[in-house]
Amino acid sequence: MNVLYILWLRQIKRYLRSRARIIGSLGQPILFLFALGFGLGPMFQKGGGGSYLDFLAPGVIAMSILFTAIFSGIEMIWDRQFGFLKETFVAPVPRLTIMVGRTLGGATVATLQGFIVFLITLIAGFRPDSWSLLPLAFLCMFLIALTFTALGTAIASSMEDMQGFQLIMNFLVMPLFFLSGALFPLDNLPSILAILVRIDPLSYGVDALRFSLIGVGHWPIGMSLGILSGCLVLFMLVGSWLFSRIEL
């Protein structure tokens, strides 16, 4: 068996064993989908935007991936506090391998979570525009998951305990989500908002996912995926540097 595989498998097992976490983290996307999807739907339609549920579904999927991914990365702080990180750090395995294994595991978990939310959107009445683009949608989901697991891991590498968690939720994760265009169309935005949206890496993930699910995108999908990949590489580089500096 391979080191990357066993580290990946550990994350998957931990995820599958925490039913409460899986179910708990579905509450938020369901609420968004039903309250916003059905609540704002009539207005959105009247404004000529088409079905708001269709528009919203990719955004809510991206949201659940974002939250799960960041959390999977941040979870490393617990490994640090419960001591498991030491066990991996004294093993004859490069730190980079450990980080990549963790990131792949966390990203798979986040993608699974996104897939479950995708199924829920189907129940809510959402239908993808073209089923043949579904593999592309899953690719987008995995890329979003990887990027933000890497970001979460990078953040966790420079935190000693969970005290900064609220700070990160309120000043990083929430803005990433709300400024991403997950909830609103990107046309004719006030200029400050338009700038913020462009800075937010998640915007490109949401847009690529929306294109692959409902066939409408604000930017060319190649560009979106390119920018997202660039962010992934950046987060991995910064993350591996921070991770390699951890002393226990």
């Binding site: 068996m1 066993i6 097992k13 004859p92």
Partner: protein
């Protein structure tokens, strides 16, 4: 000086900011010996072990373990030792076997050998019937035994044990030391341990070193130390050498926290 030293430290120093936790210590551990590293709380024992085991970079000084410099060749050094940390380091959400499997894979122990050793070791530490239980349901003693089993899967030349018997009942402690002694005599495994139980150290260790405030203040067999201090046993020799002032006043915050954790969550931390 012993000729075949498996661990050597020369002027080893570790500073945290402007606090010197380990202050220019030198020692050698001969291959195949049980070596006890003793000292009051905050003496620098764990910090020394962390430097030997590549978790901390020394501020200065030279180290070799099993012929490898752990600063220059981390992976090479890591292959040579197993370690039981002072604080727990298992994954509570995995089962006993899964924890051992993960360790075996990290150390590149091939599949069939890995499974065989895991079965043997689980039997050895009396956990065979709990192999598929989640570690979070284990008692403190069971977790400790599992950590010891885990540290041996890759057949290390050196075993580091940082206060392995904290929070264990006398039965488990005796059994554990018996097992360590057996590994030492039958496999020739070098054992580097710390403990606050002086009788244990006197019974099991060939040589002891006593550390205080980051410095080594005495080394030798426990008989030599007893003779040197003209005391009746190792505990009295230890007190004679280190004085009886409590270490709390100069211990840093982190130390207090760890001690508080130990007190409030016996067996867990």
């Amino acid at each position: 000086m012993p000729t075949d030293a498996i661990i050597t430290a020369q002027d080893l120093t570790k500073k945290f900011g402007d606090f010197t936790a380990v202050n220019g210590i030198s020692f050698e551990v001969p291959r195949g010996e049980i070596f006890a590293f003793l000292g009051p709380n905050g003496a620098g024992k764990t910090t020394t072990i962390k430097m030997l085991t590549t978790l901390l970079h020394p501020t200065s000084g030279q180290l070799t373990i099993a012929g490898v410099d752990p600063v220059k060749d981390q992976a090479g050094a890591r292959r040579t030792f197993g370690i039981v940390f002072q604080d727990p380091s298992l994954d509570d959400e995995l089962t006993a076997v899964e924890n051992l499997e993960l360790h075996g894979v990290l150390y590149g122990v091939a599949g069939s050998i890995r499974r065989k050793r895991i079965d043997e070791l689980l039997g050895y530490v009396d956990l065979a019937d709990r192999r598929d239980d989640l570690v979070k349901h284990f008692s403190g003693g069971m977790k400790r035994r599992l950590e010891i089993a885990r540290s041996l899967i890759h057949h290390p030349q050196i075993l580091f044990l940082d206060e392995p018997t904290v929070g264990l009942d006398p039965q488990t402690r005796n059994k554990l030391w018996e097992y360590i002694r057996k590994l030492n005599s039958e496999e020739g495994m070098t054992v580097f341990l710390t403990t606050h139980y002086m009788e244990e150290a006197a019974k099991i260790a060939g040589r002891v070193a006593i550390m205080d405030h980051g410095r080594l203040i005495a080394q030798g067999t426990s008989d030599q130390l007893i003779e040197q201090t003209k005391t009746a046993n190792l505990e009295d020799a230890f007190l004679a050498l280190t004085g009886d002032a409590l270490r709390d006043e100069d211990a840093s915050n982190a130390d207090h926290m760890r001690m508080a954790q130990k007190m409030w969550r016996p067996g867990r931390r």
